[in-house]
């Protein structure tokens, strides 16, 4: 008959495991990074810029943040809270106002011929060297919020579902109607000596 092995004392195993646990708690992070996703335009040589055709003024929505973090929308002093409504008005042009962008008929999957803004219609976000980053981000946030709300609205009306629940083709169709066209212009000296 084999001899019975003596049982070893496992009470310090817990201590070792606790030590490992605390090590991992300290050295790792759990936060999921999130933020405003944007795409920068391609780099163009400053010498080539001359060739771009001029865009009609009614097709550009100028949002300008100066060095004192004041917001000018199309030359008018505006509060950040009002920016979203103004952006939506620009992007839809509900009353065919002559100061708001032109529209054209375009064939869109799921929708058929649909009135969309011309390709050249763009939201131009300009800032000064002295603008605070926080303000800049809250302005960008409002612009993106306006586009997201329009997409959500359209999605509810057409498909009866939230935009996030649509499949890729349907999302693409809506993206074609409301593209996220925000141009972040080169900095200029605005407001101040």
């Amino acid at each position: 008959m084999p001899r019975k092995l003596p049982e070893y004392n496992a009470s310090s195993l817990a201590d070792i495991a606790f030590m490992l646990l605390i090590f991992f708690l300290v050295t790792t992070t759990m936060d999921i990074d999130s933020g405003l996703e944007r795409r920068l335009p391609q780099w163009v040589d400053p010498d080539d810029i001359e060739d771009t055709p001029p865009i009609k003024e009614r097709n550009v929505f100028v949002v300008l943040v100066d060095r004192n973090n004041r917001l000018l929308v199309e030359g008018e002093l505006t509060r950040v809270e009002d920016l979203k409504e103004k952006t939506k008005e620009f992007l839809t042009n509900p009353s065919d106002n002559a100061n708001l962008p032109e529209k054209e008929i375009k064939e869109i999957p799921f929708f058929g011929p649909y009135q969309v803004l011309t390709k050249s219609a763009v939201v131009s976000l300009q800032n000064d060297v002295g603008t605070t980053y926080g303000t800049y981000i809250s302005v960008q946030n409002e612009l993106i919020a306006a586009i997201n709300e329009l997409r959500e609205d359209l999605s509810k009306r057409k498909f009866g579902k939230s935009y996030n629940d649509l499949n890729t083709d349907q999302q693409d169709a809506i993206k074609e109607i409301y593209p996220q066209k925000i141009s972040e212009a080169e900095p200029k000296k605005i407001g101040g000596r």
């Binding site: 996703e37 950040v80 919020a145 900095p187």
Partner: protein, 156 residues
């Protein structure tokens, strides 16, 4: 003495702790799986701005980080209070960004390079001048997909 009464010294048995390591190991594995290692020590202090229209960065392996903010207390005496750029573990200049992006690219698999995202972690009170310079450098380096890192919440 009654014959049914056993000896008076009745002891409560000690609680068995043999399952404690199992429980702690379970916790340990949970944290090992659900968290990620902190790769860099921050040398700049950053308070992220808040935004509502945010999207999550899904694949951490594809993200490279650029930190911008005023140096933390221990570096203030050498560098002052002006916002600085931090790449990896050191303070850098705007001109280093192209090299940084290039080396980040080399570290990734060929087919993953197109999906790379640059996350800008910038302090709320930084002036846009430095951010614009960084953006221009990123355009030159053709790292066009960026993410302005923000917290979720209603802006002031």
């Amino acid at each position: 003495m009654s014959k049914f009464r056993k000896d008076d010294k009745k002891e409560t048995p000690g609680i068995s702790t043999s399952a404690l390591p199992d429980i702690v190991f379970m916790l340990l594995f949970f944290f090992m799986v659900s968290t990620t290692m902190r790769e860099t020590t921050l040398k700049v202090s950053i308070t992220l701005p808040k935004a509502t229209e945010i999207s999550k960065l899904e694949k951490k392996s594809l993200v490279s980080y650029i930190y911008v903010g005023p140096p933390t207390n221990q570096y203030v005496s050498q560098l002052g209070n002006e916002p600085r750029i931090q790449l990896d573990d050191q303070f850098s200049n705007v001109n280093d960004i192209i090299d940084f992006i290039e080396s980040e690219r080399q570290a990734r698999e060929e087919q993953e390079r197109k999906q790379m995202i640059t996350s800008l972690k910038v302090d709320e009170y930084t002036k846009m001048g430095i951010v614009t310079k960084i953006k221009q450098e990123l355009r030159k380096a053709a790292a066009l997909h960026i993410n302005y890192s923000t917290l979720k919440g209603v802006e002031r």
